[in-house]
Symmetry: C2
């Protein structure tokens, strides 16, 4: 079943069939109708490989996620992102090819991604700083967009959230509620997110006239385990609130507090960042900064497709809004007052 077959059935040439499939305007209504009918009757789907070869584009995009294996499993961020990308591709009639990679991927994988000749562009999520893939992509002029603002962003399409402002917002919330010794468990500080959220924390302390204290800052690494360790380390110096810079770590923090018999929010307040599906189901439900992850995936796809179809358009930096979701882990909030 190929163009030839359809052409014969519709009584036109291969060229015409190709034109109606690709929505070319240069087809008479009559011809278009005849072809359309055969198309739907036969359930015809053009061969992507052939199209790729002839047209130079495939309607398939690559999604590469260079995250450590363990983070991939424990952080719902990734399934969420994949879902956003997948569904947007779907509705735009594209397909997605997936590469999961340890942060230091091998040259072989990069080569595969670059030269397989079957991909119109790529989305990179959570790249490391100075990702070699990024250089290669730029050099070969392959369209790509990053999820998460990269270090040198001027000529790179990216989608992100304002991590700095979001973090600041979360910590200001704490400060306004009257907390004085606000600690933080950061994300890995060799990532841009990690840095940005820490900067937001500092800003907020500054704006609130609170003293920064290095003992109150614990460097985590996104993992639940580091949230646990962080809490254990912080407790002896008695913070009255902790800003945990990524929700998965929050689970470890909750556990550490429970073990020490410290109650949330009575004895200590917790704010998170992400608002993943589980965050609302912690005990107590977590007050946290919401990041629209699925939406980030979709917007990344839209941006990529746009960059593929209009290479002349300028680079795009999309910054999606963040939102503080108040639940009951900070006490004193409207929500928890109602509960009492």
């Amino acid at each position: 079943m190929n163009l030839e077959t359809i052409a014969k059935l519709a009584g036109v040439s291969r060229s015409t069939v190709s034109r109606v499939i690709n929505n070319s305007p240069n087809v008479s209504d009559e011809a278009r109708d005849r072809v359309q009918i055969v198309l739907t009757q036969t359930n015809f789907q053009p061969n992507i490989a052939a199209r790729s070869l002839a047209a130079g584009h495939t309607q398939v995009i690559g999604l590469v996620i260079p995250a450590t294996i363990s983070r991939l499993f424990s952080d719902p961020f990734f399934p969420l992102l994949i879902q956003g990308v997948s569904s947007a591709c779907n509705s735009r009639d594209h397909s997605v090819m997936l590469w999961l990679a340890e942060p230091e991927y091998e040259r072989r994988m990069i080569r595969q991604i670059l030269y397989n000749g079957i991909i119109d562009g790529v989305i990179i999520s959570s790249a490391i700083i100075n990702d070699p893939l990024v250089d290669a992509l730029q050099e070969r002029n392959i369209p790509f967009v990053m999820v998460g603002e990269p270090r040198a962003a001027q000529h790179i399409n990216f989608i992100d959230v304002d991590n700095d402002a979001g973090a600041q917002r979360a910590v200001m919330h704490l400060a306004r509620l009257g907390y004085k010794r606000i600690a933080t468990i950061t994300c890995a500080l060799n990532t841009e997110v990690g840095l940005a959220r820490l900067a937001g924390y500092r800003q907020a302390l500054y704006l609130s006239g609170l003293q920064e204290e290095s003992a109150l800052i614990y460097e985590g690494d996104f993992s639940t385990e580091s949230g646990y360790q962080g809490a254990k380390r912080l407790l002896p110096i008695k913070p009255d609130a902790i800003f945990v810079a990524s929700d998965p770590m929050t689970q470890g923090t909750y556990r550490a507090l429970a073990e020490s018999g410290i109650r949330i929010p009575e004895d200590i307040a917790i704010v998170g960042f992400d608002d993943l599906p589980f965050s609302a189901h912690l005990t107590p439900p977590l007050t946290t900064v919401r990041q629209p992850v699925i939406n980030m995936g979709s917007v990344a796809v839209e941006t990529l497709i746009d960059a593929i179809e209009h290479p002349e358009r300028p680079v795009r930096h999309v910054r999606l809004p963040t939102e503080l979701v108040i639940r009951s882990s900070c006490g004193l909030s409207l929500h928890s007052q109602i509960k009492k």
Copy 2:
């Protein structure tokens, strides 16, 4: 950069280059060496689309996961599986194309999967019963393997774990420790896993001379929430142990018990099924049946590639072993005794 270029550089024909790339035995050592050198020097990667068109295969496989969105996020099973598939593909020099779908996918997606002409075969995970994709695949004779035994499995390649035996093992463990009123929170019972694990539970009760009691069986749906609801529902009838048929539900169960002030394992024992990364980090660490998810993904890939390359070989049913991992949620176990 294409075969032609390489051929020129190596002083041979296009055909010869193609042969060395594809490991054809019909090449002189001398020619092979010359080509090989140019190949590595130029970092050449053949165009998949062209290969596909010419050879009829692409070295790319499709992975389709028809799970509800919410399950996709909350159940680490999926990232784990994707990881297994991805890494096995990688080491076999294949790529993976991903389709996430709500269980009732549209005809359009099925068509895309079937006819895109770029996929050598597909892996389907967690298919629903009577999945239309499966029928279509069979009809068109496209190689595929399922992760999770399907209802009518005779002519279908699948990878699974012995869910029945695993569940039985878990419940026998409880029975041997002396628990008498053993309840269960099942997986969705419109899935094969759900049915199989329930069957294992029943078997174990029977073998232990325990009375089955319908009030002790609560139908969950894999979600944490259902684990919570299940526990709430079960508590009033005072079970002394619960077999929770999938670890994500276990988190809800733990929460419900904590809210009611019921201690694990002192007041009630819990066994799970899956052994996902978080299972070891619950408080107390969960005793559960380990399922080698990543490995299942890899074996699925191996099986698929084998089926693609050797269509004449018989259908394969792979059943990976399960293992009871004893931690401290059932009390009385070696592990918890040591801790005391």
